[in-house]
Amino acid sequence: MEKSIYTPDMTRVIDIEELTSLEKLFTIKSPNGELGHEPGQFVMVSVLGVGEAPISISSSPSRSNGHFELCVRQVGNVTNALHAMQPGAKVGIRGPFGTGFPIEKMRGKDLLFAPGGLGLAPLRSLINQVVDERSSFGRVIILYGTKGPSDLLFRDELDEWVARDDIECLITVDRGDETWDGHVGVITTLFPEITINPRNTIAITCGPPIMYRFVLMELLGKGIPESQIYLSLERRMKCGVGKCGHCQIESLYCCQDGPVFNYAKIKGFEEAL
């Protein structure tokens, strides 16, 4: 037995794009042909000598082409090391791991995406998959909020989503500045702007823990059934494969049962949010 689940495949960073002062988008060559991920899954990223961290995959399988993208906030040792890298640098990859979004259940439905801040990173994987298969879904609504205009991720794609007739994309910032003439207010202030058919809507949200409570109230307040709401949760992970124990949410393992959870399933778990 030579191969170990803990040994990363070494590969190269193809491109690095600065998205904000804190976040960069890394395009990484898939270690073995295609990564073969589902939207919502994550990989364990190694910077040898520094360590390993779980990062959600930000690109959609429909746009793989031998590489994948990770949107990384500079916030710890591994992510600091990633931010110091130049294209061509080598990183280690394990995965993809975890349970992603149930895209088959979403076909034919109206989709309401509600990402906050960096929460757009994992949701973008699904959003672009949906955009690429636009005709198999109903309405596509995106309500995106960040702290300020300079924190908005994927500006080009946001512009494209806003411009498209078949996507309703509303953006807000908690605090505006002189460059901003859009909506100002927390993400929940966007919800009164839309009307939906809740029975046919599947909602997908991801953001900082504090945001979930308020966004969930809005989603439930619109009459969306709990079983039609999906969340992507963040946890500390050391193995990614259900052993190390760090990501446990009571009896659930974020790395295996999640990181995407159905709200009806997770809502009884006190430690979840």
Partner: protein, 343 residues
Amino acid sequence: MNLKVLDKRAIAPLVEALMDDYRVVGPQAKGSKFTFEAVTDPANLRFDYDTTILPPKKVLLPPQERLATFTLQEDLQVKTVLETEPTVLLGVHTCDLKAIQLLDEVFSKDFPDAQYLAQREQTILISLECLSPCDEHSFCKDMGTLTASEGSDIHLTEIDSAYIVDATTEAGEELLARYATVRDATEADMQKLNKELGAKWPKFNYQLDFETAKLPSMLEAAFEHPLWNDLGDRCLACGSCTNVCPTCYCFNVYDEVDMLLTKGTRSRNWDSCQLDEFARVAGGENFREARAARQRHRLMRKGKYIYEKFDELGCVGCGRCIRTCTAKISIVESFNTIHNGKK
């Protein structure tokens, strides 16, 4: 295979012979306590040990273990490390044996753990029947681990000046045939065995006020129990309880680099859900910040979460966490408090 008899005087020669081909690990005295250590002199083996400070899991899941090595030269390369050694693990009590069976399940399921399994495959287990309790803290009788019919390769039961030897696997039979001087058990030996095994059970007390089958559902209803705050107030968050637990297997993974920054190793070490940073994410959020929540997590794992994932309770009743706790937190008292509070 029929039961055999191993004279106590034949143990030293047996261990000597095994030491030629194996690392032999068994219980030995360390001050006033006992530990599982590699045997250098068979005379130091203490089959009369009560319990050990650390459980024998340390042989299969070492406190520190290399997972991979890597080079940091131009062409970064990473290489899997599997450090294994043919080992005979000797004198394992049946509570610890049950724990090893659980670890086997944990590390084989879903994503097999190459490091654990490589060492496990090279390990022969010789278990030892307990004929009297270690001390007042063991509750193996409650947890159903006071004896074991499977899990080891050879099982030993003391009868006077000898051991009844039960080889329960092929590996165990081969080991006996190759290294041990044993004779077939006679009718008289069998009578002694029956007498010992019959006499042992009354010596062990039940410590829990309820049937352990109730534990998962009892804990399910106890998520908001006031006990957790009481434990949280007392707990020093030192992590000793999880370190000494034979079924705790959580780990941390870390990289180390040599002085010249040319190469390094990735290793894992035992981690503890009782430590502050265990569930803290990079963004700063800590999902079990309160010690109460961490104590609850530990006991929930032992009595509920592990059961839900592996169909076995995560506690074998060895009592080590009770003995080691500076704050005198007792898993037995805690479970009883929850049960009795429900009446």
